[in-house]
Amino acid sequence: MKIQFILNGMPAETEAPQDKTLLNVLRENFGLTGTKEGCNVGECGACSVLIDGRLVNSCLTLAAQASGHNIVTIEGVHLPDGSPNDLQQAFIEYGAVQCGFCTPGMVLAGEALLAQNPQPTRQDIRTAIAGNLCRCTGYQQIVDAIQSTAQNRQEKKGHA
């Protein structure tokens, strides 16, 4: 069937069988391999994407269900010039990246939280990323990165 959505800010269209997951459509039809498969049962969050700003496991979402919606993958997060945005930069700075496999999902989990709650506590952040497993870092560097980004965005807003 024909699937149409806004993908990383641009209208996108593809053909896919009805039972094909959004994860596989993103990876195979669009070559957006930043979205990872870790478990395929919705437990690990490596396949996280944003649908209309909400964090979703793309392995549990059929591409057809995403039709007509606004999808953001990790490839749609960076600045227009291709450099990392402030949250991605904070991930680098705070050591929130080790093997990197959970990183795309973690960044999107962070963005989803900050869009909804611009001043999260550390506990809010931990709750927001609890659906995204990381086996390398112990999480606190990820919490640090999201927290510092929240503070910086607040300060910038104050100045604006």
Binding site: R27, E28, G31, L32, T33, G34, T35, K36, E37, G38, C39, N40, V41, E43, C44, A46, T73, I74, E75, V77, H78, G82, P84, Q88, Q89, F91, I92, E93, Y94, G95, V97, Q98, C99, G100, F101, C102, T103, P104, V107, R122, I125, R126, T127, I129, A130, G131, N132, L133, C134, R135, C136, T137, G138, Y139, Q140, Q141, I142, V143
Partner: protein, 784 residues
């Protein structure tokens, strides 16, 4: 401490940028034109004779392109180190539920599914051995293939027996006023790397060879196995390591098997072959941390001075040996902990069973025995009515001491500093007194109780007397003045590429931005042994240092020639080369002049650690060239109504020597502790009659962000003379003491001792496990 330009300063991980942007390519992200997909049919029985394998019906299915069995390889595809008892695909027998039998390549997943279902395999089920404690009974079924022991030793399933011998602990124990005798057991642990195993094999017809993209621990071992089993030479095979989505020791044997399977299919079909394991297949087929059962006896004087230890351990190696010979040796060496004794005996039996198989996992061997010994120390402290940290300080190894193995220690030993520092930063004295007072009162079910616990660790560096130990690094200055750095040791998320870059930059006085490290590639780097056993910083770091020294000498020769002075007179400021008289010259000028002089501007450094030796017969020697030391404290909140344990605080002090890449060091420490927390409280791989009981993250729970507190880490940076710039390794020791520290804290809170892992709700609440009979359904479904 000397002032460094780059070492110990805040630095970004060299590969972080592509990882945050989502552009870093892992093996599953590669797609080539004309590529086939492949999968392996795996045994649904834990132990069986293979009577017949017929792939003819499968090959008739449209889209199925090729099928292979062990008969398509040299010597039935046998490989394995140090004992060669594994196969790329099973030969004669399957020995665990999940053992591979046939690999199939097809045009697409649909054809693959149908093809796998059409394969006909006749298996004759054999009795299995599932309890390691009965594996050595003379009447038991033989799992292993060797008749070696069957003739001389009736214990045919004995893989290895190791000893440590000092004095006569039996006699000493009889004389000790305070003794302890307890049994402890650990269970298998799944690595749970977020990226499952996968491989892409691309035929290279002009070389009659194959290039294998494999996120494995050790590309050179992978190539060696492929050379042997495919009957090709080293020139025919290239192994490239793409980004690795976590390994933790787990990307060895199964990665080598699927590399062999995909490579063979690529050679037969002449097309690229990609094989990516589902999480279920990964968890069923992959090796685990070994499960151990330990019997511990300790004896002390009334004042708390340790006199004797006597330990017997049984290691479940499962169906194959993998690196259990190394794991079991490491546990034997570390079983008595970092303490002084008048007498000490350790005996370890590693046995074959039909429970999956065990292999390398961060801290291999030491994690298991540390769990037992550090709880035993706590139990002894309670009996002696001595503070647990005091008891450890009273007995811990110190500079100049001799270990129970007969090894004199150097001045790098700093366990006492670690213990004292962790006591301070965790506010131990105050909390331990308070919590112990509450714990002495009768428990009112439903009340919340706090507890605090400590554990100490020593961890032998690198391979030890297990094998030949060396690493090689190279440097080359390119035309554009960038510098290419290679190492045969790989970075699977640990940060070792950044460590090597910083060491080379520091030694050469050149900006780290000039350096780049290609992904490890057997065609472009040199064999450096396996990337295991916390080897990278010291072994690979020293090899990089040696290569940089050599390259630096060439640059100084050029600068001296250019500036008309002696080499010794050259000094440096930033990237400038300075002589006593002339104007300073730039790196570029020095490089250009060096090329005119005919200098190669390439270098290769090789480093081996100081000599070590071990006697299997006397159980004495110098097992490792040095040790890492550390101490950790955990604080818990226990809900005595439900048995839920929350780790509310964690403090860790590790003796790292000079910290080269602080962000990486903290990452290793926090990540290691988090895996230890999972090991302590929730991670559970049961094998029920050979069938694994958890096949995905819905059943196998690992810590989430809500399960881990903010950890406080600190390093004792006492310079280590054999380390590059005084550094020690850190990959494993952060994990090792975490579980016993947490278990000791639970006891401090509840007064109840849990001697089996994991400390789940039932064990904390009732003191026993409630798990019902297992089932083979999930495992069998996962194999469909």
């Amino acid at each position: 401490m000397p002032e460094f330009q780059f070492i110990g300063k805040p630095t970004d991980r060299v590969d972080a940028m592509e990882k945050v942007l989502g552009s870093a390519k892992y093996v599953g992200d590669y797609a080539l034109p004309n590529m086939l997909v492949a999968r392996t049919l795996r045994s649904t029985l834990p132990h069986a004779r293979i009577l017949k394998v017929d792939v003819s019906a499968a090959l008739k299915i449209p889209g199925v392109v090729a099928a292979i069995t062990c008969e398509d390889f040299v010597d039935h595809s046998r490989f394995g180190y140090p004992i060669s008892d594994m196969f790329m695909l099973a030969y004669l027998r399957v020995r665990y539920a999940g053992d591979g039998i046939v690999s199939l390549a097809a045009e697409n997943e649909d054809a693959l599914d149908r093809g796998l279902k059409a394969i006909q395999v006749d298996l004759e089920e054999l009795p299995g051995v599932f309890d390691p404690m009965t594996a050595l009974d003379p009447a038991t079924t033989i799992v292993s293939e060797h008749s070696r022991d069957a003739t001389e030793d009736p214990r045919g399933n004995l893989l290895m027996h190791y000893i440590v011998r000092k004095g006569d602990p039996q006699r000493e124990l009889a004389l000790c006023p305070v003794t302890l005798e307890e049994d402890y057991s650990t269970m298998h642990q799944e690595h749970a790397y977020l990226e499952t195993e996968g491989v892409l094999a691309v035929p290279v017809p002009e070389k009659n060879g194959v290039t294998v993209y494999a996120p494995c621990q050790s590309p050179f071992i992978n190539r060696g196995n492929l050379v042997r089993t495919l009957g090709l030479s080293e020139e025919n095979i290239r192994v490239i390591q793409p980004h690795v989505g976590g390994a933790f020791g787990g990307k060895d044997d199964l990665m080598y098997q699927i590399s062999g399977q995909a490579a063979k299919l690529a050679l037969i079909t002449g097309r690229p072959v990609k094989m990516i394991l589902s999480r279920e297949e990964s968890m069923i087929a992959s090796y685990k941390r070994d499960a151990m059962q330990m019997h511990v006896q300790l004896g002390a004087d009334a004042d708390g001075k340790l006199r004797a230890s006597k330990i017997h351990a049984t290691v479940d190696s499962g169906a194959y040996s993998s690196i259990t010979p190394f794991t079991a040796w490491r546990s034997t060496i570390h079983a008595m902990g970092p303490y002084r004794y008048d007498a000490c005996h350790v005996d370890t039996d590693a046995v074959y069973t039909n429970n999956g198989y065990a292999g390398a996992f961060r801290g291999f061997g030491n994690t298991e025995v540390c769990f037992a010994l550090e709880q035993a120390m706590d139990e002894l402290a309670l009996k002696l009515k001595i503070d647990p940290i005091e008891l450890r300080l009273k007995n811990c190894l110190r500079p100049g001491d001799t270990t129970p193995h007969g090894q004199p220690l150097g001045d790098d030993v700093s366990l006492a500093e670690c213990l004292e520092q962790v006591r301070k930063i965790s506010d131990w004295k105050h909390k331990h007194t308070d919590y112990s007072r509450v714990a002495a009162k009768p428990l009112i079910p439903g009340e919340f109780r706090r507890g605090i616990g400590v554990a100490a660790v020593f961890h032998g560096m690198s391979l030890g007397a297990e094998g030949e130990d060396f690493a090689v690094g190279t440097l080359e200055i390119n035309q554009d003045l960038s510098i290419t750095l290679t190492s045969g040791l790989t970075d699977y998320g640990t940060g070792s590429r950044t460590v090597f870059t910083l060491i080379a930059a520091e030694m050469l006085g050149l900006n780290p931005e000039r350096f780049s490290m290609p992904r490890p590639d057997t065609d472009q780097s040199f064999d450096s042994g396996p990337t295991v056993a916390s080897r990278a910083t010291v072994l690979g770091g020293n090899a990089t240092r040696v290569a940089a020294e050599k390259l630096g000498l060439q640059l100084n020769q050029s600068a001296a020639d250019l500036l008309e002075c002696k080499v010794e007179e050259i000094t440096r400021h930033g990237e400038l080369f300075i002589s006593p008289k002339e104007e300073p010259v730039s790196f570029e000028e020095v490089v250009n002049h060096a090329r005119e002089m005919g200098l190669t501007l390439t270098s290769r450094g090789r480093w081996s650690p100081p000599k070590i030796h071990w006697s299997m017969e006397t159980g004495q020697g110098k097992p490792y060239f040095a040790y890492h030391f550390g101490a950790q404290v955990a604080e818990v909140l226990v809900d005595t109504g439900t048995g839920k344990v929350e780790v509310t605080g964690f403090w860790a002090v590790n003796n790292t020597g000079t910290v080269i890449f602080p962000q990486g060091a903290f990452g290793q420490l926090y990540g290691g502790i988090t895996q230890g927390l999972g090991y302590a409280l929730m991670e559970r791989v049961d094998y029920d009659n050979g069938y694994i009981q958890a096949t995905n993250f819905d059943e196998y729970l690992i810590p989430t962000a809500l399960d881990v507190p903010d950890i406080v880490g600190a390093f004792v940076e006492k310079t280590f003379s054999s380390g590059p710039y005084g550094a020690k390794n850190l990959g494993e020791p952060g994990l090792v003491p975490a579980a016993p520290a947490i278990l000791n804290a639970i006891t401090n809170a509840t007064g109840r001792r849990i001697r089996s892992l994991p400390a789940n709700l039932e064990r904390v609440l009732l003191g026993k496990d409630l798990r019902k009979e297992g089932s083979s359904t999930a495992c069998k479904l996962g194999l469909k």
